[in-house]
């Protein structure tokens, strides 16, 4: 009986590792949203310094950068001008570092680093482990 339990446990661990190493990553649905909240323009006019968009954004291949303007004034947000109530969705399909002029930052630059999808096998297993460890 003990051998059966041990075999089943080993089978479970193996199947988990197999899934982590070979199961495909979610693609096309990884939306990373940044929103300009209502009242941003008024707060900036009042002299408040607001950091809405990070200087560097890290995405995975097939992720979509979503920029939403919920304020009542247009904003140059990252790589583009977005009108009040408008959303801008920019998909990234290739791993690279993209640099944009961005007036929202003091140095006028925004970098989007798109990291390649890990290959099936050991690389993907390590990638999933890192994600799991980061969550913990």
């Amino acid at each position: 009986m003990q051998r059966v339990v041990a075999a089943m446990l080993a089978a479970l661990v193996l199947s988990g590792l197999g899934w982590a190493a070979f199961a495909p990553l979610e693609t096309g649905s990884g939306e990373v949203l940044f929103a300009i909240p209502a009242g941003t323009s008024a707060r900036r006019l009042a002299g408040e310094e607001l950091a809405i968009l990070p200087r560097t954004i890290r995405l995975g291949v097939q992720d979509v950068l979503v920029l939403r303007n919920a304020d009542n004034a247009p904003h140059i947000f990252g790589p583009t001008l977005i009108m009040p109530g408008q959303t801008f969705r920019l998909p990234f399909t290739r791993a690279a570092t993209y640099s944009f002029l961005c007036t929202a930052h003091a140095d006028g630059q925004l970098s989007v680093i798109v990291e390649p999808a890990p290959a099936a096998g050991w690389e993907r297993l390590r990638w999933r482990w890192r994600i799991l460890a980061n969550r913990g």
Partner: protein, 203 residues
């Protein structure tokens, strides 16, 4: 075969199921999505800000002049060392991929350097890429207003005759109805443009 061995075999076979399933899913996965635009899309789209500038073809350049066509609008300067030639070469490639459908596409290149880019300079420069491209120039105030409508920035860098212009390098996609639909960042290839133009032409 003993009961223990049968159970072990069954457990091992059971373990193979998710692995096999994952392998099948992996092999069935496509390289990339083909629906929608590859450029960044505006939702909802707005009317593309209009301008009226001097055209490299001797006629005023306005967006309404190209209503019914897809307009690829970009900002740059003819003395640009790398970004603008790359963009224009990519757009020329995209047009050549489209075959006859290229007639429904107009590339408009608005200068950010009116000091050096007059209509004649732009005409001879653009002809090296595609004779169908149109350049637009004007006084600094009119050009600044055109840039502001798209959130485009342009800053002079350096002094003397060899100064450069640091500018937004994106390409704006305007549909046949004159709506600003999308923005393609610098660095995308001709296939991406051809794909998105196809989507906009079929819409």
């Amino acid at each position: 075969m003993s009961g223990t061995r049968v159970a072990s075999l069954a457990a091992a076979l059971l373990a193979m199921v998710p692995i096999a399933g994952a392998a099948v899913l992996y092999s069935a996965r496509g390289p990339a999505r083909t629906d929608g635009l590859r450029a960044g899309e505006y939702d909802p789209p707005r009317a593309a800000p209009e301008f009226s500038l001097a055209g490299s073809d001797g006629r005023p350049v306005t967006l309404s002049r190209y209503r019914g066509k897809i307009v690829l609008l970009t900002f740059g300067f003819t003395y640009c060392a790398a970004v603008c030639p790359t963009t224009l070469a990519t757009l020329a490639q995209a047009r050549s991929r489209l075959g006859k459908r290229a007639d429904a596409v107009q590339v408009v290149f608005v200068t950010v350097d009116p000091e050096r880019d007059d209509a004649a300079q732009m005409r001879s420069y653009l002809a090296a890429f595609d004779t169908g491209f149109v350049g637009a120039t004007g006084d600094p105030k009119a050009l600044a207003a055109a840039r502001a409508g798209y959130g485009v920035t342009a800053v002079r860098e350096g002094t003397g005759p060899d100064y450069a212009m640091v500018h937004t390098s994106s390409i704006f996609l305007i549909d046949r109805a004159g709506r600003l639909r999308a923005m393609m960042p610098f660095g995308r290839d001709a296939e991406d443009f051809a794909h998105d133009i196809g989507v906009l032409l079929e819409a």
